[in-house]
Symmetry: C5
Subunit: 305 residues, 5 copies
């Protein structure tokens, strides 16, 4: 156990040894194992966006085994996916990489201004499939947010009791927010705080812009001159919003990016701002395997630096 | 156990021996037993469309025993029906054919743009009636989709724990979809993916058209030149959307077809496209028994070919 | 046990001996005992329409004991009522007549185009009160139909497990149906089918008219020339819709009829059409006791004929 | 045990000895003990109307102990209140007077045409606090009536199983009723019937007016010449509507009345009409203690007469 | 145990020794221990208003340990916060100060005229984290009030059974209330009464204004000449509304106040009116640590006076 991982675990003093063990498994696995940094491969886009939009650009990715193999070959810390994808490789790749079972999901066949996630897997599913953690998405700002927070509360309590870590995707959405507001710096910081208060062990948010959505927040950002001009500053602020750096916060870039350099520039921002790492889905599996491995290697080089 | 069935079971590595045993029972039964292909007789139309619309064209079909006998005589792999119909023959035909208990149903007395299925049977009902599987319908695209996915999650977990297979009817419907969209190739592929991610062991979808419903999907189909011009290509694509062929996907043709040749042409498309078989309801029991047996025999000839 | 009752019980092969015993108790009780025909006295109108509308025409009927006594004196097969009425006589008349506990009810103080029934008694209530069956009303066509079907599913499973029979009042209603549609032949046949598929052991519907409500159904009735011109033909069709006569279907006439001859003509139609009997509420207890006994006697004469 | 109380208990033949014991405790307590008549002090107005509107006219009544003492001093049969008020005196006055725990309540901070009660106490709370009964309010006519009936069903079953009596406040309200309709004779009679059918042991309704709300009811009242011209006749009719006098029905007068004589005239009507007594809240605790004791004494004189 | 604390505990005669023990722990802790007065530090603003609005004015407050340390250093009776903040210090500060786990929370990303709180922690969480009490917010006046009251009922029953105290934040809000009405004297008094009736052991309300919101209440306040002109009178009235002073009622001032003198004037009003103390969030942690300690010391001087 490296001092860095020991330090991170010390922030989670209320958790039982089972949870700490599984957090350690994720932090100690793969090329970044022991550094306190994380790169996770998530593949829920088949459910969230549809299979052709997700996998047609790189057809081997239709096969669920592809993603296990990619995450292992790239040296990711963990692989996260919905029930079906995890079931489709859990025996073959048992013990090869920490698994995160997404416990809720949504599709885009239903178009709703106030979206909700459906429950699609249980904590016991995670146990039987050998997972280290459950993943749960919330939509702060949706008319269904209270329902989703309540479901997360139940799942998180059961997961903690059973020694599993809890990873929360905190994605602001809903009729009270503008489109720009979904990635506004005040809103992303708020989303990180909500996930932390709900007991998340690992928090996943989108990279924020410098837009400020809420007037009441803007007054404070301006009065206190909170630095949010650069990407690194915004990452630093979001990390601060999650218990002043005492919770693991990782970032995604949102849409697929074709330009590797632009993508890596974002990674450098996250690293410079003290972010704990990245969750990289479409930018991994929509490239060819070779290209993805090269890009993930460069990402890990930055975080290891 | 044929190599083909062994191979298919190997795709379900996360399942307990009970589930594999029941999947094997279905795959090994009837005229197509051991081939890896399936023809299932489903009779939920009495509930879904009303008794006269379903059975008046062939009045012996009002009697629930008729369908057990038809499925057995035709050499189908399994017979699927709601609680009442299964109860009405479960003792008399005990052990004669694998049974699939439909666990939810809807009627057309209620007209709703966003339909929902009512829960009509339990997993324990399936056990007490000697069934091999539970059947569950979801309507991806309906305002109630999250509710139905959540119900399926609970049913599927209980069924798996109790060693039953899970068959999902994945029928896109709802106010966000056009009528043509319900059988659009992108939507059917998406519906197959959702069912697979929700943990279905056998997935039933309608034969897709070449219509593309969602703009975001169309861009990908065109950019990646996904072949969807012929029926066989579309079947192949849907199978690919269900974990690259590692889940059993079977097809229905939708409306009753009076022309046997047109019907058999569809079967040839499914076979050519790598589909795992058919679920044939109205085209079986709305023909005379003799005619139905002949037609089902021709269907099985194609799949056995 | 008469051959007729033996035959009827043989249709319920999936049921445990407890359910069969209670079905037999109902079929073997009273003046029609052993004939396979049934006349049941139901008194839920105090709840459903209000006490004065129900009982002011014959004030002794305000007393719950009146109905036990009437049902016993008339030789009915069973007496059905809500919790309060059953509780008010269950000890005094213990063992005197099979009891059916209505488990849900609605009132007309609330006016709703899509009605719903409230749960008003439990299966355990039925056991503790010595009942042979639970009664449950569904409104096919209501916006709440899925909720009611789901509740019936739970009640029916518990009742079956505990050896009680399940009697379903299947009353089509709701904003998708016209007033005439509530008793249309296609809709009543459909309602009988739904109740049968939901696992009802005894099905109660209203006498249908020759109106056809749904266009898709009309095409089939016309194409197949389903005979529905006379009352007897319509009864025969409804019985056919309930598993081709393999489920007990009984009929009510709807509104109170002052003309005994008109009422008895309906009974003759039911008998001629192969119906299993009648459930006669207001036409019993809104007449004087003497008159009611005479009329019920004439009804039983017809069924015994 | 007086013959009168024995007779009343005989009407509840379906209840276990625990329920009968608690009914007897209420019937045998206080100045009217053994007469079969009841005067109950209810104090839920602090919750239902607010504390100042309830207690400012007589400030000692802000103290929860005041009401225990008043009910005991006046010789009431029972004291009924929400959880907080009962908890605030249950130890100090343990065994001094039968207690009825109100299990649901509503406030007037929320203005709703279709009101609903919130669940505020449990059956186990009633047991741990030494109560003889739970009290439950329903609003027949509200859009939430089915929900409230269902909740009452669950509470009543648990209370019966645990040997507690069930007291139902049956208050018609909701968007389907006019203001006058809430106390119309047909509606109050209907409300008493619903409570009785739901299994209430003691039913509390408001004194009805001679207004008739529902056209279908008016026809019957007129055709059958149901006598409802005087207060006593209306009370008699309501008692008849509750199983022909075989359920305990008590009355409240509604709004606070400053004129003692007018108030006592109502009591005489209730007595003359065969009502079982009164539930007197604001007319007790909004008078001075001395005045209230005098008035309650006069009420009991009437009922004892 | 001081006579004052003994007296306060005597008001809670219905509670088990576990609840009394935890109430005593809170009353006996810190600088006001034994006086019967309370100052509690609550920090749920990170969830309720967002992290930057809450903590940017005093950035050390982003760290959850800051608040534990502040509450301990200031000699507060207890520290109250949501799950995440409590978990982040529960081990490090175990036994140092009584903890109150907020069990529900809301954010302002969702803008709703009728707000609702999401369930965010359980009673078992409070036990495993060593807390003395659970905290629960209700919004009397919201369309969701009945749902929240019902949730509080369940939480409070479980907490009582497990020996934990129950602290209720009673905040009137919703579409039936004007903005001024949220702090109107009649509404705040009503909110205190509702919390007390729901079984709260400690009640937290906002300082009321002299506005009267409801016409029916205004008539009584005027007719009875209830004194509400000064801050102290209004505090006295609210305390009276909570069982005539037999429930612990504490106050918050609402918005952050920059002027210490104005803030302390409010504290003097609370003390003069017989309030039991204060819950001071933003006015503590948005000042520098030094400033906050000085101000809290002055507050405690007043209450100790």
């Amino acid at each position: 156990m490296t001092p860095k991982v020991k330090e991170i675990l010390s922030w989670y003093g209320a958790q039982n040894p089972g949870v700490l063990t599984n957090l350690a498994r994720i932090l100690n696995h793969g090329r970044l194992g022991g550094t306190g940094k994380l790169v996770i491969l998530p593949v829920d886009q088949g459910f969230e966006h549809g299979p052709a939009r997700s996998f047609a650009p790189n057809p081997p990715a239709y096969d669920p085994r592809y993603h296990f193999e990619l995450a292992i070959a790239a040296g990711c810390n963990a692989y996260a996916a919905p029930l079906g994808f995890i079931e489709a490789g859990a025996r073959e790749f048992a013990g090869d990489i920490p698994l995160i079972l997404k416990a809720n999901d949504a599709d885009v066949l239903r178009d709703d201004k106030d979206p909700v996630q459906a429950l699609t897997a249980s904590v016991d599913d995670a146990l039987r499939l050998g997972c280290c953690a459950v993943g749960f998405t919330i939509y702060p700002g949706s008319a269904y947010e209270a329902e989703m927070y309540g479901q997360l509360r139940e799942y998180a309590q059961e997961a903690r009791d059973k020694g599993l870590a809890v990873v929360v995707w905190s994605y602001p959405r809903g009729s009270s927010l503008s489109k720009a507001g979904e990635t506004a710096i005040d809103v992303i910081g708020y989303a990180a705080q909500i996930a932390a208060q709900l007991g998340a062990h690992i928090i996943k948010v989108k990279l924020p812009t410098d837009h400020i959505e809420q007037d009441a927040a803007r007054k404070v950002y301006e009065a206190q001159k909170v630095p949010i001009a650069t990407g690194a500053e915004r990452v630093r602020h979001v990390v601060q919003c999650a218990f002043d750096g005492r919770r693991i916060v990782i970032f995604s870039g949102g849409a697929a990016v074709t330009d590797d350099d632009a993508f890596l520039a974002e990674i450098r921002d996250i690293h410079a701002g003290g972010g704990f790492g990245s969750i990289i889905g479409r930018n991994s599996f929509q490239r060819t395997r070779e290209h993805a491995l090269k890009l993930l290697g460069e990402v890990m080089d930055i975080y290891a630096g």
